[in-house]
């Protein structure tokens, strides 16, 4: 990289030669199209990311404090609304921790219904994620198809629970609604359909060049690193760690429903795609099995509003990984302390590790790959340490940039842009924008 006399003078005055190639890229937090704000400070060396510093908390609302002043049952509805994608499993995990304290047994039928809803949630979450991966890779056909198939499972959820997103199905020691009558055939039929679709998408991502080019060999991390960083869920399974709460510490009806834990050692973003689609097939089979073998009996045990004193923890496998709740009661109407840990929190260190060494164009792919609450990559603002000049890219522009980086033949104008940018100097970037 050639430097102008002016730049050299600057470098000398700063005394750091590296500064000519390193630039700081604030990433986030407000993003136009989707999802939760998050902020990452990226240190780039030309085109490569060398370091990432996270700043989360844009969605911090203070639930753990609020839980201390609300009754046990009301907390369940509040924790359910921690996240709109894996909402059921939050209330399930909180509920299980409280149930341990009450010493009441959850009826077997309730456990099966919980399993059915939790697995349906996994199917919907994985489909949502596959679609988004398609979107960020510049493959919008897949995005539209997958989200259309997602409506299938949402319709079933709505028929059972009455709402598409927040199911409000859980009660302490049971579920609030029974399965509707005469739904078995419909559910099994729809699950077969989803299984076929998942197998088809699996073929598509394995053969379609658009997808392969963007995902293969991206985001490689070694298994040891992942284990040390305590990643959970698919993020641990894609490097071959068999870390799944459903298998390790079965809750609800997972000890009775046939479960197949998928792991792969391929260890890149493409592996995550295949892994999640395979898991989807497993989940669909589990739902079909649970519906066909649903035991009879009560669905709920009435529990007094005062929960005995004690401490307990519970962990569950959410679509993105393990979630953990710790509950402490002092024998009152409200909890003494509730601690919740979401899977994205556990996966962020791994995501940072995955980002290192990637190019700017891969940021959306890698950050979506951990299945965060996904919008974080939607708005970037660039800050150039040389000129103190900053500019911003929206997520859509970043997506375009990523597509052009990999498919420069798509348009002449954008090819020029891609070439200019991939020559990896801040100088070029600055001239273009």
């Amino acid at each position: 990289m050639s430097t102008t006399p002016e730049q050299q003078k600057r470098e000398e005055s700063v005394g750091l030669m590296e500064y000519s190639t390193e630039s700081l890229v604030p990433f986030g937090p407000i993003h136009p199209a989707l999802k939760e704000p998050e902020y990452f400070k990226l240190v780039l060396e030309g085109e490569r990311i060398v370091n990432v510093i996270p700043r989360i908390g844009y969605v911090h609302r203070g639930l753990e404090k609020a839980a201390e002043s609300r009754p046990w049952v009301q907390n369940m509805y509040m924790f359910e609304r921690t996240c709109g994608i894996c909402s059921f499993v939050h209330s399930l995990c909180y509920g299980q921790a409280v149930e341990e304290l009450t010493m009441y047994q959850v009826p077997r039928r309730a456990k099966y219904i919980r399993t059915i809803i939790a697995e349906m949630e996994r199917i919907h979450s994985h489909l949502l994620w596959v679609g988004l991966m398609g979107h960020w890779a510049g493959f919008d056909t897949l995005f539209m198809w997958v989200w259309n198939d997602r409506e299938v499972v949402l319709d079933l959820v709505e028929a059972i629970a009455g709402n598409r997103v927040h199911k409000s199905m859980n009660a302490i020691c049971g579920v609030r609604r029974d399965m509707p009558e005469n739904m078995e055939d419909r559910i099994v039929e729809r699950m077969r359909f989803l299984t076929d679709r998942a197998r088809y998408y699996r073929d598509v991502i394995d053969s379609e060049e658009t997808m392969l080019k963007r995902t293969e060999n991206i985001g490689r991390v070694s298994a040891e690193t992942v284990e040390k960083l305590c990643a959970v869920g698919p993020m641990a399974r894609y490097v071959g760690l068999k870390r799944d709460v459903r298998l390790n510490d079965p809750y609800a009806a997972y000890d009775e429903v046939p479960l197949d834990v998928i792991t792969t050692t391929q260890g890149d973003v493409h592996a995550l795609l295949r892994l999640r689609l395979d898991e989807l097939v497993v989940s669909a089979n589990m739902v079909a099995y649970a519906v066909e073998n649903l035991p009879d009996g009560p669905i709920r045990v009435k529990v007094p509003p005062i929960i005995p004193a004690g401490e307990h923890s519970s962990h569950c496998e959410a679509p993105r990984g393990e979630i953990f709740y710790f509950v402490k009661s002092s024998g009152g109407r409200t909890p003494d302390r509730v601690k919740s840990r979401q899977p994205t929190m556990a996966n962020i260190p791994t995501a940072l590790e995955m980002l290192k060494g990637q190019t700017l164009a891969d940021i959306p792919i890698v950050l979506t790959a951990i299945d965060p609450c996904f919008g974080c990559m939607d708005r970037m603002s660039f800050y150039d340490t040389e000129t103190n000049k900053s500019w911003t890219w929206s997520g859509e522009e970043l997506r375009q940039y990523g597509i052009n980086y990999y498919f420069p033949e798509r348009s002449k104008k954008q090819r020029d842009l891609a070439r200019a940018v991939s020559s990896s100097t801040n100088q070029c970037l600055r001239e273009d924008f």
């Binding site: 700043r55 609020a66 305590c230 390790n248 401490e311 962990h315 953990f324 840990r341 556990a346």
Partner: protein
């Protein structure tokens, strides 16, 4: 009782503490703060309990309890230690388990516990940028929600 718990129980006796079962797969071990790092090293290297689920903080009045929630296969192991509220300083375990970094930052935000050795300990993780420096950490029992809301400017002006 699983092999892991038996092995841990023996070690716990050696260092002068004991393992208390909470339920079938859940147990708690009390460890003094100055022995914690040694214990976690033992846990990771010798018993192969490598998955740190999270670190939980508890306000116990005079003391703050720090619970390291580990899991290995079926077992959940809570390693419990405490620091005085007046001097909330603890040793960071980031050099043993790098995945603990965000959890320690979270506890720093929520309880004001200072983890010596955490490279990012002075950064805010969850609390807003305009969090007043003189406001006590939010999850202490003495901190009132209304007080925080007023200071953060979230309480709408009363009509």
């Amino acid at each position: 009782m699983s092999e892991t718990i038996t092995q841990l129980g023996k070690y716990a006796e050696e260092v002068g503490t004991k393992i208390t079962p909470l339920r079938k797969n859940e147990s708690t071990i009390e460890v003094a703060q100055d022995r914690l790092k040694l214990f976690v090293t033992y846990l990771v290297n010798d018993v192969h309990v490598r998955h740190l689920m999270t670190i939980t903080g508890l306000d116990l009045g005079q003391n703050l309890a720090i619970i390291y929630n580990f899991s290995k296969e079926r077992d959940t192991i809570h390693v419990r230690t405490s620091v005085p509220k007046a001097k909330p300083e603890a040793a960071s375990i980031v050099d043993i388990i790098p995945g603990a970094i965000l959890y320690e930052m979270e506890l720093h935000d929520m309880f004001g516990i200072d983890f010596a050795g955490n490279p990012w300990k002075d950064q805010k993780l969850l609390l807003p940028d305009n969090w007043p420096a003189d406001l006590p950490p939010p999850l202490l029992k003495t901190t009132k929600t209304d007080q925080i809301r007023r200071r953060l400017g979230l309480e709408a002006a009363k009509p």
